[in-house]
Each structure stands twice: as C-alpha cells, then as structure tokens.
Amino acid sequence: MSELKGWKEIPEGAVIEDAGNSQEYKTGTWRSFRPIWYEERCIQCYRCWTFCPDSSILIKDGKVAGINYDYCKGCGICAHECPKKANAIEMVPERT
C-alpha cells in the first residue's frame, strides 16, 4: 500500500472522493485458500464467472483464462459451482 496519509490530508467524514477506486485496493491478501484453474479440464461453461462474487474470473477473447489473484478472496464458490464432470478448479491452502 502507498504511504499512509495524516488526518489533515484526508477528506472529512471518510468520504471516498473518487468513483470506482476500489480497484486500487487489492483484497487478494485476505485469502486462506487459493483456487487453481486447470485449462485442460475447463469446459468453458462460465459458471465460475457467473457466480464469482468479486469478478475475479479472468476472461480473454471470450474464454475463461484464469483467476485474478489481486482480488480473489478464496471463497471457493467457483470450485463448488464448477461441474463435477469437469472439476477444473481445485482449492488449495494458501501458503504465506
């Protein structure tokens, strides 16, 4: 994180002045389990993309292309929703 500011430098009332700046806040560090996506098993059903509560499933050229670990909090919904026959996402303990 960038240098912390003092109380005289920040907007009063904890107002966030810039729209959409949550992108700057990398929440991936909260993760205790990490989803691993296996491209060869993926059937491109988009269930993980549909259900991910943090828009952390990466799409490239119209196809699932991996996971954005900057924001993924490791909730495991993608692995849960991934069809059993594909089993393309596995959760593994996050190593610190």
Binding site: L4, K5, G6, W7, I10, E12, G13, A14, V15, A19
Partner: protein
C-alpha cells in the same frame, strides 16, 4: 422588530423550526418532545414551510433518515427525548463521524427503569461523547435562540458537526412563559442559504459515503471530529456575539451570575439555574457572596474559560441532574473538577445530584445546601457527594 408572546418551550422550538424552514424533518415523536413535531406537522400541513416531513417507524430510523438527508445536502432537523435518544445512540456517532450538519432538539427526560416521563439530563449525558455539540437552554427564550444559532454552528465549514439543543422536559417544554421572537425575514437573513460542502445527489461528482475504514485510518477520522469540536469553540462565541448584535440577546459558553466576587459558587445547567439564582439573590441580601455559573455549552466543554471564572471561588457546589453511578460525581461535576485542575486550583468542590425523574428542586433545597457549605467553613467537614431531596 421583535414581538413578545406566550410560548411553551416546545412551541418556541417549533416556531424556530418554522422560521428556519428546514428541507427535511424525520421524527418519531416521544414525550415530552411530542409537541414539537405535532405543532410542526401543522406548519407542514398548512403550507407554512416547504419541509419534507418523514414519519418514520422509530427513532433509529428517524436519525437514519436525517443522516441520509443531511448527506444529500439538505438542512435537517429533528426532535426527541429519553428512550428515543437512547434508541438513536448508534446513529449519533454516524451523524458526527460522517460530518453531518443537522440540529436535534433534545427535550430532556429521565431514562428507564423505573419508567418515568419527567425531566432529567440522563438522556443527553448518555450522548455526551458521541461527537455532537450540546447546548443547554434555561428557558423557552434560550431554546428558541439556541436553535437559530445552532443552524449557523452546525453548517460552519470548520465545524460540520451535528448540534443537540437541550431544554428541560415539562418544566420548560410544557410551561408557558413570555418570550421575544424575531420576524421570519430576520431569521432567514441570519441563517442564510445553506451551501452543502458535499452532496450525495451530486451526479456530476459521485462520491462514496459511509465506507468501512480499517485500523490504519479509523483514528485519523476520529481526530478530525475532535478538530471540528475544537473549532466549534470559536464559532460558538462568534455566532453568539453576532446574534446579540442583531437581536440584543448575547450568548457565550455560560452565564455568569453574580460571579465576579462570588466566594460560594453553584454550578448548574438549564431550568434549575433559575431556582438557584433566586436563592443567590436572597443570600446576597444577607451579605453572602454567592454566585452561579450556568454552563450553556456542554460539548465542547469550555474548561479554560470555566477555570478562569472560578478563580476567586472559595467553595464550589456542582449540581447535576444526571448520575454517573460509580463515577466520582455527576457529569458536570467531572468537567468542572478537571477544569479546575487545568488551573491548579485546589478549591473544595462537591457534587450534588438533584431532580432525577423531575424530583422537586425548590429554593429550600438550595438554602439547605448553602447551610451545609456554611458549616463546612466552620468545621471543614462536608460530604463530597450526595443526593438532594431524597428519602432514606
């Protein structure tokens, strides 16, 4: 031009609100403040104000709606008492933490249990550390004048903290007295147009209000609230003087009644100050150098100024209409005692709790207190803490 008429405290507040003509009022009326919103809703129904009156389902919702309206950039007012204020408690810190400008009248009433609808200061004292400016009124006139000044204080760029204007339940809220009031136009000129610093409704510059803050920033925002409160000290004085210059009634942090040469000083807020002043008049006739310090502003508390005016006192008796149950004395006593410390003043100071649940506080009780003090001067003995007019 000002006129005289008979007003109850609640009518005085409702009249001030009519003249301020706020954008939004959200309220859930509760005794003894009920009258305020009852009278004000007449003004709304009759088209005498342009206010959006939001009839919510609880005080918690009333304060929530007020916060939303304030963040949207509206001039916002509400009123409550006792359990209503207690139920708002969670939101009081939200209002100050989000730097909302708003005015709430608190018609002081006891807290349960036992259930009691009558006057004491337990409700407001429960909110003393929530970041609200607190101004106490002795009578209907002061309540009216304080509401109008509160508009300027809460909206001041350097303050932007909510203001609670307090008056005593029933004793003031429901008693008629002679009061001087201004013309609508003069009030309008005094308060001016409200120019919100930010607005939720500003679609050209969308901003987020009420986001979570982690330990690495929370303290910085609380420090800002402290700064707003510190800034309020000067603003309250300036507006009190400007109000006096315009309307003839000057206001400061407190009223000093025969204080200059006073050796025995009673410190008391709100309506009971009238009773104590009456007794002080009689004591003066007997040659006793007695006086009264009546704090008007409880938050921010004027420690430095209070210690200065108490410099010549030989004995101080602080009267509280609220308990701290286990504290050294009442809430006002604690403030006065720490104020004296700033001046290294070791004058004897005692705490007396009176008038809980509107127990009578009569001249005889003040006279009895003076007799205790007179005995202290001879024997050096006195109770540091006691209740007034309570049965054993």
């Amino acid at each position: 031009m000002q006129k005289f008429d008979a007003f109850t405290g609640n009518l005085a507040v409702a009249t001030a609100m009519k003249q301020v003509n706020p954008d939004v009022c959200a309220a859930y009326p509760i005794t003894p403040s009920t009258d305020i919103m009852m009278i004000f809703s007449d003004f709304v129904a009759n088209g005498e104000v342009n206010t959006e009156l939001v009839t919510v389902e609880s005080e918690h919702s009333a304060m929530s709606a007020c916060i939303g309206a304030a963040l949207a950039g509206g001039r916002v007012m509400t009123a409550t008492s006792s359990a209503g204020l207690a139920y708002m408690w969670e939101l009081l810190g939200v209002a100050s933490g989000l730097r909302c400008s708003m005015i709430m009248t608190c018609v002081n009433r006891a807290l349960s249990a036992p259930l009691n609808i009558h006057c004491d200061h337990s409700d407001a004292m429960g909110a003393r550390d929530t970041g609200w400016i607190q101004i106490f009124s002795e009578n209907a006139q002061e309540a009216y004048d304080n509401i109008i000044q509160a508009v300027r204080i809460t909206e001041h760029r350097d303050v932007r903290l909510p203001v609670m204007v307090c008056l005593d339940g029933f004793i003031i809220s429901h008693s008629y007295e002679k009061m001087q009031y201004m013309e609508d136009k003069d009030v309008k000129d005094f308060i001016g147009e409200f120019k919100p610093y930010r607005s939720l409704l500003n679609v050209d510059k969308p901003e987020t209000f009420g986001a979570m803050v982690l330990p690495n920033y929370y303290m910085e925002f609380k420090r800002q609230v402290r700064e707003g409160m510190e800034n309020a000290r000067q603003v309250i004085l300036e507006i009190g003087k400007e109000f006096g210059d315009k309307f003839g009634r000057y206001y400061s942090y407190f009223e000093e009644y025969m204080l200059e040469d006073a050796e025995v000083v009673f410190v008391v807020m709100s309506s009971a100050a009238g009773t104590v002043k009456h007794v002080v008049n009689n004591l003066r006739k007997r040659g006793v150098k007695a006086g009264v310090l009546k704090p008007r502003v409880f938050r921010p508390f004027p420690h430095v100024e209070a210690s200065r005016v108490l410099r010549n006192a030989k004995f101080i008796c602080v009267l509280d209409r609220a308990e701290t149950f286990g504290g050294e004395g009442g809430p006002l006593y604690l403030e006065i005692k720490s104020a004296l410390q700033t001046d290294k003043n070791n004058v004897p100071v005692v705490s007396r709790i009176f008038g809980l649940g509107q127990r009578d506080f009569l001249p005889i009780h003040v006279e009895n207190l003076y007799e205790e003090i007179e005995a202290f001067f001879k024997t050096g003995k006195i109770k540091m803490f006691d209740y007034v007019n309570v049965r054993e």
